[in-house]
Symmetry: C2
Subunit: 274 residues, 2 copies
């Protein structure tokens, strides 16, 4: 068993941040050098976004894909970014990992120990033994891909398994695998009807809901479909819509991102109160 801090779980910290900041918003930290204002480094831009929005969000979600093209420098920047997020805001690393058990152990060590993330996204296609090494970190959270936000989601996730789409079966497996209370699901905000079905199957799981903003999901429908019986239980992710709200303008980009985050947070709160 790996040696990790176990005093506060991701879910507890997420709920505390959600309450303190009155927010179910997750801001995705996906650097795109072509959109970052001229004269601002990637590092300073991301640090600036964190500083400008950390009292408006319930968590942050860097996607490791956008750091990997810079090789070692990118990975070390990601580590530094995660460490710079205030302790009371948890960090979910979007990595969509999953491999045979022996290899998943190495991935889990990289994500939770070396990078220091509090939660991760995983791909369930390899089955339970590929997910288990991550779940052993009882204070962290693992979000399994269930119904993703992209158009191609239908190709595999909607295949009929005994008369019901595959993603519903993944939702059932997530309940079974959730013996430590640290399993969540990725449920695209672009498909509210599917999100409502998954919420019926998994009344208690935390949902990460990407696909608002640049991916143009219907925010209100998504929030109402995804929230649990307590009007919570979701992290609604926006990345490009918040990060590049300033349109590359010098000087006021952090203010523009903060304003966009506040607007989204408030829209989510209006939707969940209805």
């Amino acid at each position: 068993m790996p040696q990790v801090e176990t005093h506060t779980t991701f879910r507890t910290r997420f709920e505390a941040a959600a309450q303190r900041n009155r927010s179910l918003l997750c801001v995705g930290l996906d650097p795109d050098p072509t959109k970052i204002p001229a004269g601002v480094t990637v590092r300073d831009f991301l640090m600036g976004i964190v500083e400008a929005t950390s009292d408006v969000v319930a968590c942050f979600k860097p996607n490791i894909a956008f750091f990997e093209p810079w090789l070692g420098e990118g990975i070390d920047m990601l580590r530094e970014l995660i460490a710079a997020v205030p302790r009371d805001v948890p960090v979910l690393l979007d990595a969509k990992r999953g491999d045979i058990g022996h290899t998943s152990e190495a991935y889990a060590r990289a994500v939770f120990e070396s990078l220091g993330a509090d939660a991760v996204t995983l791909n369930p296609y390899l089955g339970r033994d590929a997910v288990e090494p991550f779940l052993r970190y009882a204070d962290r959270h693992s979000f399994l891909l269930c119904r993703t936000s992209n158009a191609g989601a239908v190709d595999v996730q909607d295949l009929q398994v005994e008369g019901r789409p595959l993603y519903e079966r993944i939702a059932c497996l997530a309940n079974q695998w959730n013996t430590r209370g640290n399993v969540g699901l990725v449920v695209g905000a672009t498909y509210p009807a599917e999100a409502a079905r998954i919420r019926e199957i998994c009344p208690d799981l935390l949902f990460l809901m990407p696909g608002v903003g640049a991916q143009e999901g219907d925010l209100e429908a998504a929030v109402r479909a995804g929230i649990d019986a307590h009007g919570a239980g979701i992290a609604v992710n926006a990345s490009r819509g918040v990060l590049y709200a300033g349109g590359g303008s010098e000087g006021r980009w952090a203010d523009a991102s903060r304003a966009a985050a506040i607007q989204l947070r408030d829209q989510i709160n209006v939707a969940r109160a209805q």
Copy 2:
């Protein structure tokens, strides 16, 4: 469209190496510091394995999971390792990536451009648009997870879709998505009956078959189930069984790995000739 060299495809280079070295063996480069001989650095160990076996294999397959726990240093070591493999032996990066299209573009850039790999493993759960950014690199190869070698493979991959297991449907999708001739499949050597079914569905695709050696697949049954009509079309992967054949002994570890690789290569050749 990304700017990449397109003069020789992965498949052509793989087949040339297979013919030159009379080998369908793929050696997995998965560093485990607890098993590397005392006094040998990870970098020197991996370079030594490449040097000792590059005339015995058809390709090499580092798994990025084993480099990620070392953060930037690990990723830069992986880049250096890939660059050090002789030009006439292609490198398949085991990464099991896959994300929505915009994000898969960043992953593909990282794998094929920054790291310089010739092929990659991908997870098909997100559908075609998640795979497409990789397939656009026409000279590279993308191996989709189909039926993996782990025990948990049954949890999702064996679910019945219209009376047939899901992995057979993935095999059908791989044929459809193979418009550029650069799609392959990951088919565990631990399940020969399943491998035979997948070969029926995909007579022309290249299979990566992990699971011999440490995972104790039946090598002969796997080879006979996986080979195509020409007695080829497979890359049989062994990682730990070759890398740590010397048992951590100082001095002769490279010789021990070379001997283990030759033995496996010859066993594969005996099986395919039957």
